[in-house]
Subunit: 145 residues, 2 copies
């Protein structure tokens, strides 16, 4: 999951698309004329038809348009990319969508925190015992008796 | 974020709702008759009107209905609850929605993994040096020279 990468704002790409005459992926999908003030055009390039198809399937064009109008212009590319990420996750996993990824990450965090706590406990025990007979019991055994 | 808790299936609640005569939150919101075979009724109780209002605002009733029909009956409560979680996150943060939570969790994981690596390195260094002069340098200093 490379969220940070997928949310990168590419202003060059936006400028190229605005100058292009071909309709954006959204207008192509919706079979409508793509005007200069099209809210979708900067974020749904014609060469990425799946990006719009996915958000359309999960959120609907009208809801995406409403969300875009709710946020500031400089936030719109991030908003579109996070919607596209959510839509793709929901298409891959219709039951949990990207909430499944949140659950996985939460479990990984809990596991890692436990491992860190055990390692810190080892370190304290080792420093207290000056290393003597330290490796006679498992590293995750927290009973000092 | 207690995802696991919010996804808990409450069969008792479903049965109570099915027996009740009041329309479900979805049908009330959409001002339509709530039939016995209403796809929303088991998952949108009348006493939680915001749950449906949120998923309706973000996904639309038709898309939620399509997703519910795509998954198996025993998966529907989890699907609805994950959609409700996503919708609430998007209403709170229209730019990143729950993808923002994924980014935060990913950053926490990276930080925790670094901390664990540093602690493990400390432990190895301590065992190698038999504890002598170990605490003369910071615990996260990985240069052994």
């Amino acid at each position: 999951m490379e969220v940070a990468h997928s949310l990168l704002v590419s202003h060059d790409k936006i400028e190229i698309m605005m100058a292009s005459n071909s309709p954006c992926a959204a207008c192509k999908f919706l079979r409508r004329k793509c005007n200069q003030d099209c809210i979708f055009a900067p974020y749904f390039p014609p060469e990425e038809p799946h990006k719009f198809a996915n958000v359309h399937k999960i959120f609907g064009a009208s809801n995406v348009s409403k969300i875009l109008n709710e946020v500031l212009p400089h936030q719109r590319e991030d908003a579109v990319n996070s919607l596209a990420y959510e839509a793709e996750a929901r298409i891959k996993d219709p039951v949990y969508g990207c909430v499944g990824a949140i659950s996985v990450l939460q479990r990984q965090l809990i596991r890692l925190q436990k491992e860190l706590d055990a390692t810190n406990a080892d370190l304290i025990r080792f420093s207290t015992n000056q290393g003597s007979s330290f490796f006679n019991y498992p590293s995750n055994w927290n009973n000092d008796s």
